[in-house]
C-alpha cells in the first residue's frame, strides 16, 4: 500500500482556474493559457504513488512546479483539482482539524532557506512541532535532544540559529522535522542553499539516516546529480506536468522525451553508471570438470587471452591465461587448479565507473564483478571507455 497517492492533482494560480483547467483539457500549453486567461498553471494533473520507505525525488527546472507540488502534498497550497491520499485519507478534501492532525503526526517539512525561527534557540526550534501539540516540556526536550544528537548537533542546543553555519542550520531544520517522528518527510530543495561540499556531506548523511529511519521521503531538487544520488525513483517535471517517473537508471538510459534527454545529457556518467551497467556475460571454465585443453579451446573460440575459472555454482576461483594453459597442456597437466592464478581484480556491482577506470589500467585481465563470491560478469577496458564517452546502449545490452 502506498503511503502517498496523488491523483490527477492540479493547481492553477489566478482568478479563473476553471477556465484554465478547461484549456488544459484541450491540451493547451502553460504559456498559451497564461496568455489567454492570465492564470498560471502551477501543477498540471500530476499522478504518482510513493511507497513506504521510498526516497521519491521530484526534479525539474526552475518554475516547473516542484515547490507547488510538494506544498500541495501537505496543503500549504490549496489544490484546484485532484486528490492526495495519505494512507487512504484524502488530504485534499478533509477539514482543517484533520489536516492539522496529519501535519502534526504524519508529515514534516524541511525548507530550502531553513526557515528556522530566529528568536528561538536550536533546542526550542527543534521542539517546535511537539510544543504546538502540547507535549509536556520534559518529553519534548528529550525527543528534540535525541533528534539533534542524530544530526550531530548535540553540542549546540543553546545557540541561536544565527550563530550557526548554513549546513548546521539545515541540520537543525532536519532535526526539527524528525522530532515529530513523521512517516513522511517533505524536503523542498533542502540542500540547494548549501555549498557543494557541505551539500554532498548532507546527502550522504541523509542516506545514512535513511538506512535506519526508513522514512518516506519526498525530495525536491533541480539538480540531476543530487536526484540520482539519493532517489529511489525520480519524477521529472516540466511546465507543471510530470513527464517521466522512473528509477535513476530508467531516466538515464531511457529518457522519455527530448526534455528528459536534455536534462540527462550533461550528467557526469562516470558517477552514475556502475559496474553492473557495463559488465559482460563472463566466459568461464569449470574447475572440477575442465582442464587446460578445454580452457585453451574456449579462449581460442572467443578470442580471449585469459579465462575465468569458477566452480559449478559460479563461485569465482581465479583465472588462467592462454600462455600458462598452453604450457600446461604441453606438460600434460590435467587439473586446472594447478595452474590457477588467484590474484584476481574484482569489484562489486555497485562500483562506480570512476573507480573501475582507475583499476582497469593496472590490470592484465578483465575485471571480475562479484557478489557474495559469485562471478556475475566481467568488464573489459573497451566497455569502460565506451561508457565514459556516453556510448548508448551499453547498459541495455547487459541488462
Amino acid at each position: 500500500m502506498p503511503v502517498i497517492k496523488v491523483e490527477s492533482l492540479s493547481k492553477v494560480f489566478g482568478k479563473h482556474p476553471e477556465r484554465a483547467l478547461k484549456l488544459l483539457d484541450e491540451n493547451k500549453s502553460k504559456e498559451e493559457i497564461l496568455e489567454e486567461t492570465g492564470n498560471t498553471v502551477g501543477v498540471n494533473r500530476a499522478s504518482f504513488e510513493v511507497e513506504e520507505g521510498e526516497v521519491f525525488v521530484i526534479m525539474g527546472l526552475s518554475g516547473s512546479g516542484k515547490s507547488t507540488l510538494v506544498r500541495l502534498l501537505n496543503r500549504l497550497i490549496e489544490p484546484t483539482e485532484g486528490n492526495v491520499y495519505v494512507e487512504e485519507e484524502n488530504l485534499a478534501t478533509m477539514d482543517k482539524e484533520s489536516l492539522r492532525k496529519i501535519r502534526r503526526e504524519k508529515m514534516s517539512m524541511v525548507f530550502q532557506r531553513f526557515a528556522l525561527f530566529p528568536h528561538r534557540t536550536v533546542l526550542s526550534n527543534t521542539e517546535f512541532g511537539l510544543e504546538i501539540q502540547g507535549v509536556d516540556k520534559a518529553e519534548r526536550r528529550e525527543k528534540a535532544e535525541k533528534a539533534l544528537e542524530l544530526v550531530g548537533l548535540g553540542g549546540y542546543i543553546h545557540q541561536t540559529p544565527g550563530q550557526l553555519s548554513g549546513g548546521m542550520q539545515q541540520r537543525v531544520g532536519l532535526a526539527r522535522a524528525l522530532t515529530n517522528d513523521p512517516q513522511v518527510l517533505l524536503m523542498d530543495e533542502a540542500f540547494s542553499a548549501l555549498d557543494p561540499l557541505i551539500r554532498k556531506e548532507m546527502q550522504d548523511e541523509l542516506l545514512d539516516l535513511q538506512e535506519t529511519m526508513k522514512k518516506t521521503i519526498i525530495f525536491i531538487t533541480h539538480d540531476l546529480d543530487e536526484a540520482l544520488r539519493i532517489g529511489d525513483r525520480i519524477a521529472l517535471m516540466k511546465d507543471g506536468s510530470i513527464v517521466q517517473i522512473g528509477t535513476p537508471e530508467d531516466i538515464l538510459v531511457n529518457p522519455a522525451n527530448d526534455y528528459v534527454e536534455k536534462f540527462v545529457e550533461d550528467v557526469d556518467r562516470s558517477k552514475i553508471l556502475t559496474a553492473e551497467h557495463i559488465m559482460k556475460r563472463p566466459e568461464t571454465v569449470d574447475i572440477d570438470k575442465h582442464g587446460p585443453r578445454v580452457a585453451l579451446e574456449r579462449m581460442r573460440e572467443e578470442g580471449l587471452s585469459s579465462i575465468y575459472v569458477t566452480d559449478r555454482r559460479r563461485t569465482l576461483k581465479g583465472y588462467v591465461s592462454a600462455d600458462t594453459a598452453s604450457k600446461a597442456r604441453n606438460e600434460d597437466v590435467r587439473n586446472i587448479s594447478e595452474i590457477l592464478n588467484t590474484d584476481v581484480p574484482t569489484v562489486d556491482k555497485d562500483t562506480s565507473l570512476n573507480e573501475i577506470f582507475e583499476q582497469i589500467y593496472d590490470s592484465p585481465v578483465p575485471i571480475a564483478v562479484v557478489e557474495d563470491g559469485k562471478l556475475l560478469g566481467v568488464i573489459v577496458r573497451g566497455a569502460v571507455i565506451g561508457a565514459l564517452a556516453g556510448e548508448n546502449g551499453v547498459t541495455t545490452e547487459n541488462a
Binding site: R104, M107, M109, F111, Q112, G129
Partner: protein, 280 residues
Amino acid sequence: MLDFMENVPVIPLAEGVSWLTDRITEIFSFIFEPIQNQFGAFMEWTSGQLASIPPIIVILLVVIGAFFASGKKFGLAAFSLVGLLLIYNQESWEQLMSTFTLVLISSLLCVIIGVPIGILMSKSRIAQAIITPILDFMQTMPAFVYLIPAVAFFSIGMVPGVFASLVFATPPTVRFTNLGIRQVSEELIEASESFGSTGSQKLFKVEMPMAKQTIMAGINQTVMLALSMVVIASMIGAPGLGRDVLSSLQRAEVGTGFVAGLGIVILAIIIDRFTQSLNK
C-alpha cells in the same frame, strides 16, 4: 468656471457633524458618564498615588532603571538625575506626575486597542482596506479638532484628554503592528503551518515574536504622540505641565512657559530612551 456652483446651496456639513455628535452624546451618555466619573476618579487616584511617593525615591528608581535599561551606561542615568532634579527644583513635580499619568494611561490604552486592530488588519485584506484611510484621517486631522467631541462626550479634565490622545496617538501602533506581522517571511509562516499550528499558535509563537521590534517602534511613536497631546489636552482642563505652558501663553510669560516646556522635553527624552531600550 465655478459659476454653476453659485446655485448649489452650502451643504450643511458642519451642522451634520454637530448633530451627529449631539446624538452620540445623548444616546451614549449612559456609557460616557460612568466612564467620565469612574475613570476620572481612577486617574486622579493614580496621579495622587504617584505624587505621594517621595520625589527622591522616584528619582532614584528612574536613575537606576535608566542605568540598567541602557545597558549599564551612565548617559541616560545622569541625564535623568539632572533633569528630574531640575523639575523638582522648579516646583513642577506635581504637574510632572499628572502629565506622566496622562501619558502612561493614554499609551497603555493605545497599545491595548491598537495592537489587536493591527493584528486584524494584517490578517484581513478587507480590514486593511477599510482601516488604512481611517488611520490617515485620524493622523492628518489637526489634533485640536478632537478636543471638541472629547469635551462633548466627557466634559473637561483628564478623561477627555485621554480620549483625544487615543484618537491622535493610536495610529502608529496599529500601522506598525500590521507592518510587522506582514513582514514575517513566507517561509517561516509555512514552517509553522506545516507543523500543524493553529491560527493563534502561529500568531503568538511566530508572528508576534518576529514582529516585536517593529511593533515596539510603533509603540515608541505612540508614546511620543501621546506626550505631545498633553499640552493640547490642557486646553480642555487636563492638569499637568501642559497647563503651565498654556497659562503662561495666555499671560505672555516667556520664562514660566519655557520652564514648563523644558519639563516636557526632559520627560519626553527619558520616556523615548526607555521605550527604545526595551526594544533591544
